[in-house]
Symmetry: C2
Subunit: 199 residues, 2 copies
């Protein structure tokens, strides 16, 4: 028997990503978002949603670019801090001791300390309600050694993750491997007929 | 020093959610998606992206409704299976032994076995490229006891999660609590000035 919680932004899991932008003077700014996700495979795109009241909103509209900086669990306090105060009132990059690096692909900075960064140029803007959704085309993904396995491939297990639980207002880390995708499902039942990946 | 992986849908973490719809004959269908996320707080909305080639794409266009079914780790093989075969070739609900329940709010079924379900009506459709993004307004969120703590509140830690790693093509579970949101960030530095939650 399920219990109703009503119309809420209650959905598990959501990410906690740090968005990098430049302000009008060219000063780097960051802001944490939990509303977002991949939204297209070709062109590769990520969507993030922001309130118009945020400083980052205006910076993305102006520069048509942003970075997505993906933290490791030990960076959770920095991530949380960047979500609580506006760049209008604090130089968050300086306060958090981060190193802003100019992207060579888009007009936005990424933070060297985060193990994974995506450089995105603005492709679409969708007005939904309190939030505006920005769809960014992913021009490059860069990873630290901390996020790469011995064979040179991306490894979430090695990097770890910061997972946000809306409504519960809590962060969690990454757990154990559960299995190989496009594979473990065959153990339940043989496939009716194979289809290309749902991605 | 960061290593470039190029323009890819490589972003950690992404979810693995099971989308419930009705086909034209009213038969329940499910499909797994990893491209999606919350996209607005008011009205509360979730975005999911699908290729036009999927059966679910047409069913959402037709019925203007879908459910988001959120699995626990022990359901990972079912989740993976539902992402590998089309509802045109297999009755996935039957094969996976799931119980389709008609939503009283939208024209779509949810699966009783998943601990968390969102009932959504289609609000926007955005053509991006290979994928089309559907924005659904969340009319209700329903949780099982398995996802609720002793005080009657949603508890991701109790429910667990299935987290998908794109490119790596692997699933991971949920890890340990990392801290309280809108709180742990104050341990890094005092806040410049408080701002309403970034949500």
């Amino acid at each position: 028997m399920k219990k109703s919680f009503g119309p809420k932004t209650l959905l598990f899991p959501t990410p906690a990503w740090v968005i990098g932008t430049y302000d009008p003077a060219g000063k780097p700014n960051i802001m944490t978002v939990a509303w977002g996700g991949i939204c297209c495979s070709s062109p590769p795109c990520v969507a993030i949603s922001l309130r118009k009241a945020t400083a980052t909103y205006g910076y993305i509209v102006e520069r048509k670019a942003f970075t997505v900086n993906v933290p490791s669990p030990h960076q959770v306090a920095q991530v949380d801090h960047a979500g609580m105060v506006s760049g209008r009132h604090e130089d968050k990059v300086a306060v958090l001791g981060l190193t802003a690096t100019r992207s060579e692909l888009v007009d936005a900075p990424y933070m060297a300390e985060f193990p994974m960064v995506l450089e995105c140029r603005l492709l679409h803007t969708l007005e939904i309600g309190l939030h505006t959704q920005f769809v960014g085309e992913i021009l490059d993904v860069k990873l630290d050694e901390a996020a790469i396995d011995g064979a040179g491939k991306p490894d979430l297990g090695r990097m770890g993750a910061v997972i946000f639980a809306p409504e519960q207002r809590a962060y969690f880390g990454l757990g154990e491997p559960l299995g190989a995708a496009f594979s473990i499902g065959k153990t339940v039942a043989p496939l009716g007929r194979k289809q290309p990946d749902q991605e």
